[in-house]
């Protein structure tokens, strides 16, 4: 089978139905006002392709909100995740650096990673706060996907990138009619990519790049963060929904079992020690800490971006805080 081909959406959904008998197949589904992954079944409606990122980051499949990390799991079938945006694929780099660090490999993450087949997609739509291109990320899958797909008219265009992708999607060939990728579709894909990139660049023309943002944060005054964090309620939503935030709480269970649960440095007491001292006691310090971590400290220790510009933290903030607005303001101030 060719690594790039197209198949009718009708046949694609028949194929997904077949896959879903033995695997957990997740597809992006439009609900009342959001797009999120749902388990595929034949009654599933409102599946959407080439859209902006789903609410849930890819991270959640690999680092579930709660997971027992001591007991041996029963073998389960593959998770096939369809419609992953480029920002979430890029975020895998820092997750892998931390969780697959060769000194201490997190076997649960590794197993989740190995059992997942990642199918990326181009973003033909973008959300208000999307800003991947400002950090040098293209709004379409470049790395880390096993395959990628785009819906063009009534055809799904599939591009296979890895052996794992080939093992899964190679099954299409004998069973379903497929076509060579039409040249005009290739041109349309390229044209669409340019349009989306231009739109993202235009939307974020005032936003400083990743390195500049780090310098601005490092040089900022403590007082300025009192103002920026004024409406923060320390709910931790920004961190838990972030595709690159990786902190967790280890909870003890009987029989010396341990459960790894998503945690956030925005919660009071996150760094408190037994005697009561807490470096992140003040809300404004906690708030700044998250950005120091992403833009200053992580770049000093890791090779991967700790923000991939998905904008979920802005969408989700009940304090109506936009980090982008903060950084634009800081950047403008730095230029007098």
């Amino acid at each position: 089978m060719k690594s790039t081909f197209q198949i009718s959406i009708h046949d694609w959904h028949l194929f997904l139905l077949e896959l879903s008998r033995d695997n957990a197949v997740y597809v992006p589904v439009k609900t009342y006002n959001d797009i999120d992954y749902k388990l595929y079944d034949e009654d599933q409606t409102n599946i959407v392709y080439n859209i902006a990122r789903p609410v849930t980051p890819l991270k959640t499949f690999l680092l579930p909100v709660k997971e027992n990390v001591v007991i041996e799991k029963n073998k389960y079938n593959k998770k096939i995740i369809i419609g992953i945006p480029a920002c979430d694929l890029k975020a895998l780099e820092i997750l892998d650096e931390i969780y697959l660090d060769e000194t201490f490999v997190d076997h649960t993450y590794k197993e989740n990673r190995e059992r997942s087949v990642l199918i990326g997609t181009d973003c033909h739509e973008i959300c208000e706060n999307c800003h991947c291109t400002s950090y040098g990320i293209e709004p379409y899958p470049v790395n880390h996907a096993d395959a990628s797909l785009i819906l063009m008219d009534d055809d799904i265009i599939i591009n296979i990138h890895t052996t794992k992708g080939e093992e899964l999607l190679g099954k299409i060939a004998p069973a379903y009619p497929f076509k060579e990728l039409q040249a005009e579709n290739l041109a349309l894909i390229e044209a669409k990519r340019e349009i989306v990139k231009r739109k993202l660049d235009e939307n974020n023309r005032l936003l400083p790049d990743y390195t500049t943002t780090g310098i601005l944060i490092r040089n900022s005054s403590d007082e300025s963060w009192l103002k920026h964090s004024k409406t923060c309620v320390s709910c931790g939503a920004c961190a838990t929904i972030c595709p690159t935030c990786t902190c967790f709480l280890l909870i003890d269970r009987p029989d010396f079992e341990k459960v790894r649960q998503v945690d956030a440095c925005q919660y009071p007491g996150f760094e408190r020690i037994a005697a009561g001292e807490d470096p992140l006691h003040k809300k404004s310090v906690r708030f700044r800490n998250r950005y120091l971590c992403k833009y200053v400290w992580k770049p000093e220790s890791f090779n991967s971006l700790a923000c991939t510009g998905c904008g979920r933290c802005i969408d989700t903030c009940i304090g109506n805080i936009s980090k982008n607005k903060i950084f634009i303001e800081m950047h403008a101030s730095s230029h007098g």
Partner: protein
């Protein structure tokens, strides 16, 4: 080093003996289910089954493989529970984790150790290590402070230490009683009493955050280079693996990159003394 077993799963250890060190501090001698090695200054996570887990640097000799001893101050949720442990009970241990004391870098030098309160625990382990290699050091000076005479821990060990050639012991208490014959005042005062060749010396500090701060400032004032001051940082080490983020101090995961740092490594990070 690559670890292949489940990094979150503790091994079991039986409490062999509980030693009352002071009204707030107890030591627990543990027998792990199999041999357990650590380098001095590295730490372990001690699990109370189904209840919680907390980090401790063993206070025993790193040369001992069959037993491990931890010294615990009653200070919070997990340590309160640990203090109820009795001989025969079973706990879990994970580790060892982190970067301990680089003892080989101390060879040929005068080693000054400044300790306070329960911060004596990692120091005692270090001292066992130094005693075992005592001919490799010019001299070793221990300055140890606690709040009151009854808060002074490891009394039998102190008596033994005073007998070791080229090892000196100085102690202070914040508030003395009528039987106290050593210094009264903060521990940093002891540094005025010692005779040390700073150009051929390293200093090691371990204790409560406020003591770490003023101890370091005093050592700097005495002329110690920032690269010769070794600090054992106390943070909320939880996973021990450089992943969970609770012990982050600037770019460092204290559990993995520390807990022992030289002052120059951490000087510019925010809130290091909290």
């Amino acid at each position: 080093m690559t670890v292949t077993h489940n990094i979150y799963k503790p091994i079991k250890a039986r409490v062999e003996r509980v030693i009352d060190e002071s009204p707030l501090i107890k030591s627990f001698v543990l027998i792990p289910e199999h041999d357990f090695s650590f380098r001095t200054g590295e730490f372990i996570e001690l699990t109370i089954n189904g209840y919680g887990e907390a980090p401790f640097t063993p206070s025993s000799s790193p040369l001992e493989k069959k037993k491990i001893e931890v010294t615990v101050m009653k200070a919070g949720y997990v340590t309160d529970k640990i203090h109820t442990l009795k001989a025969g009970e079973v706990v879990g241990i994970r580790g060892p984790f982190g970067r301990g004391y680089p003892v080989e870098k101390f060879y040929g030098k005068e080693v000054v150790i400044l300790g306070g309160g329960c911060g004596f625990a990692p120091i005692r382990s270090l001292l066992y290590n130094l005693i075992a290699e005592k001919d490799k050091f010019e001299k070793v000076i221990l300055c140890y402070g606690s709040k009151t005479p009854e808060d002074c821990i490891y009394k039998p060990f102190i008596d033994e230490l005073r007998k070791v050639e080229r090892f000196e012991v100085y102690r202070s208490v914040d508030k003395a009683d009528e039987n106290w014959k050593e210094r009264e005042g903060v521990v940093t005062l002891l540094l005025d009493d010692i005779n040390v060749n700073i150009s051929n010396s390293v200093a090691i500090v371990c204790g409560p955050p406020v003591m770490m701060k003023y101890g370091t400032l005093k050592l700097l004032e005495m002329g110690y280079p920032e690269t010769s001051i070794y600090l054992s940082m106390e943070k909320n080490m939880s996973c021990g693996l450089g992943k969970c983020g609770h012990c982050m101090m600037g770019k460092y995961y204290v559990c993995k990159d520390g807990p022992v740092f030289t002052y120059d490594e951490i000087r510019d990070l925010p809130d290091i003394w909290l």
